[in-house]
């Protein structure tokens, strides 16, 4: 069976939706002949031409605005923001325009667009190219936020995002792009994974680990190690999309395990897992046998130096320590 990397899976999804639907086109910085900052669009320019793979000037606000205007008038744009950090330059267009148009016009407009963007740290890109801003997006009514953790999900979620009639923020973790360790079988045919449905990536009975994006992979590694070495059986829940949020899946898991550890790469203060923890506390309190614990990044900008960056972002050891603490085995 053929295996694809995360990057290859997303690229295949783009190619297939663009072949299937003429209303789909891409716009972004250096996505043309150059092939995108991470090489994800390489070859698409030659295949679809400059009209449908539209290279833009370095103008994030205008390119997102253009995506909004074309979406409202019948297209299905895919806008690429090179790094999710650059979304802040286009913040008005995302928050006040894309997200609000439908509601403020009384439900009479649709804004079917995807903003694809690379997020996360761990690659030495420092403070302005490594952030995890998902909580900011998820906080805005009108936006959907997708955070795939693996190639299979990335393809299915991407196709679903393009065909969704709302602005979707599609957060791609840059560590996952080319790492063959995370390659997996991805069917050649088109398929979709519904937005708002999480998945149990590993079932277990002792404790629930809920995570997003790259942290799902880290959580799985920790869970497998603990099972092998200490016979601790963790269940790993991948939210896949944080908005809409599949809180039922988390609560269902907690019902079984009684313990919850939330893992995310964003800074802990005001992080999205605070929302997950709060909803589980509110709607699943009776199932809890221990306090909910969050493992998240430290509350500082992402530092450059490797040693500092690794200290900031949740490590496997930190996830492990917190699991043992919740189980009373620390």
């Amino acid at each position: 069976m053929r295996e694809l990397t995360y990057l290859e899976a997303i690229k295949e999804a783009i190619r297939q939706v663009m072949k299937e639907n003429e209303d789909v086109f891409m716009l972004g910085e250096d996505i043309g002949l150059y092939g995108g900052s991470f090489g994800l669009t390489r070859g698409l320019f030659e295949e679809f031409g400059k009209d449908r793979i539209r290279n833009t000037p370095i103008a994030e606000a205008a390119l997102i605005g253009a995506a909004v205007g074309s979406a409202v008038t019948g297209m299905r744009p895919i806008a690429e923001l090179m790094f999710s950090d650059f979304s802040t330059v286009a913040w008005d267009q995302i928050v006040n325009q894309a997200a609000k148009i439908r509601y403020q016009f009384g439900g009479k407009a649709k804004v079917p667009m995807v903003i694809r963007t690379a997020h996360g740290g761990g690659m030495g890109f420092a403070a302005q190219h490594s952030q995890s801003l998902e909580a900011l997006f998820a906080h805005i009514p009108g936006l959907k936020v997708v955070m795939p953790s693996c190639p299979y999900d990335a393809k299915g979620l991407f196709i679903a995002s393009v065909y969704d009639n709302n602005p979707v923020i599609f957060l791609e973790h840059k560590i996952l792009y080319n790492n063959k360790k995370y390659s997996q079988h991805v069917p050649e045919e088109m398929y979709t994974i519904p937005l708002g449905k999480g998945e149990v990536k590993k079932s277990g009975k002792d404790l629930t680990l809920v995570a997003t994006s790259y942290m799902v992979q880290k959580s799985l590694e920790v869970a497998n190690e603990l099972k092998d070495k200490m016979q601790i059986d963790c269940e790993v829940v991948d939210l896949r999309t944080i908005k809409p949020l599949d809180i039922d899946l988390v609560i269902e898991s907690v019902k079984k395990t009684g313990r919850l550890v939330c893992v995310e790469e964003a800074c802990s203060f005001g992080g999205f897992m605070g929302e997950v923890a709060s909803q589980v506390a509110e709607f699943g309190f009776d199932y809890l046998d221990a306090p909910i614990v969050r493992v998240a990044s430290k509350n500082c900008p992402v530092p450059y130096s490797y040693v500092l960056e690794q200290e900031m972002i949740p490590s496997s050891d930190r996830i492990k320590e917190n699991i043992l603490k919740v189980l009373g085995k620390a």
Binding site: Q93, I101, G106, K110
Partner: protein, 332 residues
Amino acid sequence: MKENNFKIANKFEKLSRDKKIEMLRKMYKIRHFEVEVDKFVLRGMIYGTCHLYTGEEASAVGAISAIDETDYIVSTHRGHGHCIAKGADLNIMMAELLGKGNGYCKGKGGSMHIADLDSNNLGANGIVGGGLGIAAGAALTCTLKKNNRVVIGFFGDGASNEGLFHEALNLASIWKLPVIYLCENNQYGMSTSVKESMNIDRVSKRAASYGIDGITIDGNNVIEVYNTVSHFAKRCREGVGTVLIESLTYRWRGHSKHDSQVYRTKEEVEEWKKLDPIKKYKEYLIENKLITEEEDKEIENTAIKEIKNAVAFAEKSEYPDISEVEKDVYSD
């Protein structure tokens, strides 16, 4: 106010009498719509705020009369005039301003967010300059779908100092998008005069930065606005692309609901009122024997009556059901 070298044909001359009168009718509708909205403001019935278009009627009516129904407009926070000129229903507009459930946005948008997608009005915008990118995007759709449509992106003098102005005009210029960027220079960005806001005397000079045509016109002369927009709309359809038109005009009222107008003199306001775009146009129509004084009165009275009906309609309309509050956030 002739200060350009463009050879702009007088297409207005060739319009039918009906169409010429229709333009006057629309100007009166806008004027009296705002009169009634102002009364609502004084009675405390406009929740939040609103921005009146009084005195700028020639700009919206001249520009929008020069494009087709299938063409798009993107409006601003001072958008009532654009909305009426594009063909919105006065009753439904007024209902929206009062926050009623049968308004254009089901009471969820109000004055700053009126949109009428059915008339290809892509909406007002509460963010100064916020629609400039959207206008480029709508024009991109026209290009990609090869539908031969054009877009008018309205904005104010204040918006021309926003970063997105540069980004959007640059983008539109390199892609030769069929968008007419129409700057309604009403002399003030809220309280700040254009003279204090930019180091040049004409917003249209900024067109040179993008290698596009730029022109300043008398925005109180509906015929001049009509001819200019007709000229550039045709060029947009021919693939020449983006243009920057600066329409010089003046808002008679304050910036919004609350404005003590300490930044300008009564004399200045009175000087501009002498350049009343409606008076100017009706006198032209009478002089050219297209209408009589009596017909003019009748047109105005009909407009007043329609607006009064809209007021009555809006007042007796119901507020939205509270179950609506979380609806329309997402589309299926």
